[in-house]
Subunit: 140 residues, 4 copies
Amino acid sequence: MSLQMDAAELMEFLNEVFPQVQEDFAVEGLSETEISMRLCVQEKHLRPGGTVSGPSMFALADCAAYAMVLARIGRKALAVTTSCSMDFMRKPVAGGDLIATCKLLKLGRSLAVCDILIHSVGQEAAVARASMTYSIPPTR
Amino acid sequence: MSLQMDAAELMEFLNEVFPQVQEDFAVEGLSETEISMRLCVQEKHLRPGGTVSGPSMFALADCAAYAMVLARIGRKALAVTTSCSMDFMRKPVAGGDLIATCKLLKLGRSLAVCDILIHSVGQEAAVARASMTYSIPPTR
Amino acid sequence: MSLQMDAAELMEFLNEVFPQVQEDFAVEGLSETEISMRLCVQEKHLRPGGTVSGPSMFALADCAAYAMVLARIGRKALAVTTSCSMDFMRKPVAGGDLIATCKLLKLGRSLAVCDILIHSVGQEAAVARASMTYSIPPTR
Amino acid sequence: MSLQMDAAELMEFLNEVFPQVQEDFAVEGLSETEISMRLCVQEKHLRPGGTVSGPSMFALADCAAYAMVLARIGRKALAVTTSCSMDFMRKPVAGGDLIATCKLLKLGRSLAVCDILIHSVGQEAAVARASMTYSIPPTR
């Protein structure tokens, strides 16, 4: 029940393994069972009209859940997204950043499950919800 | 943002429309955005070994979300389950009741979305999570 | 890529492990990657108005996917439902049986994934779709 | 039950509304109930190791389902993704294009449901499956 990486180590690790996305995400908070991850919204994330695209929200949920799991199992370990469900409930605020709040519901030997709520910064009603399942391959 | 029925009216309504399930479920708590629903576990809900079956947990999540939506839109209205996702995370405690805690994430004109966590009574770690989407037909 | 049980052995095994449901389900067809499973609709499966309930459709999808996986990994093995998603698309025909057609999309060492379409007997348009994921514990 | 746009009109429309993604996707085939959509895999879609990223596969599934619905309801209409579920089953072939085969399971007045299988070009086993639900706002 303890963290293998703190927020700074986690960001360093994500930047190493996903160099393409390092400008997109920032860890805002981290505990043993919860992480907050920001999507720094840029032109490339938008649909015409200024709304953040579905794939960008998926990427945010996936990145938050992946980081949560990695923070607990450590950087030597692997985790692969195996399934996901998402509900898109409201339009994000045009051009504003999004924050994913991700709770770790289960961390088993071979499966981890996270629940994610996504909000536009400063708004109370959630924009989307997601659940993400990761498979954790056995270490040798 | 107000309730159209209180917990007692809600139970009365559920007993009316689902006479077959009236021994199975009990409203434990109700607010404008959250409901707690108990599955009174009986022989018929169990798999060999004493574990509550998946379909019984689905029925609990569905009933909780349906009741939450009805409490808000009122008994004249209709709501139909359109989609659901569930993750089964741990074995329920053998023979023990289950409690679903259901949050209303969205109540739009035509769609409602609920998030549900299911626990064995007295256990901290959730047994299952679910999200349920309801379609609300237009009134005429 | 071969079956460990034929349809008769599969039904026998299901009747053994799920004695409560043996009147409900019947294997209608089985190949190495597909199974057809009938829900023999009875009073207990119905909602007022004669429609088959959501939990009954969930049970059918779950049973079909479980049987498909078991037919491939054999009766000594275990498989546990870990996640599911369902879309309820149309009302089933009142009082009519339902048929689930289940395709095995993946059978890995630790995870199996199935895709299920449910039809009312004799109707072309599907009543519901589901995907089911099973965890296969390592044998010792 | 007829198409409002053919494949060329559909591509033209997608290029208009999603100018950012016009290099990414190509309609490979279109009928009244099925569409094939190619993801023209580029550097930006890859994870380290050459695997196509989860968000890129989500984008492909979403684009295929959106195009299928638009082909049927026409360009004056609107459709908004409301929910999605995906299972990631195998690693895509490194650097190879992906093809989504999307079936329209339901096209109601207010909801459409699509089922999608994603393959690496030339491979028989599916890389991922998805289901996508769209809300179709009433026309005025």
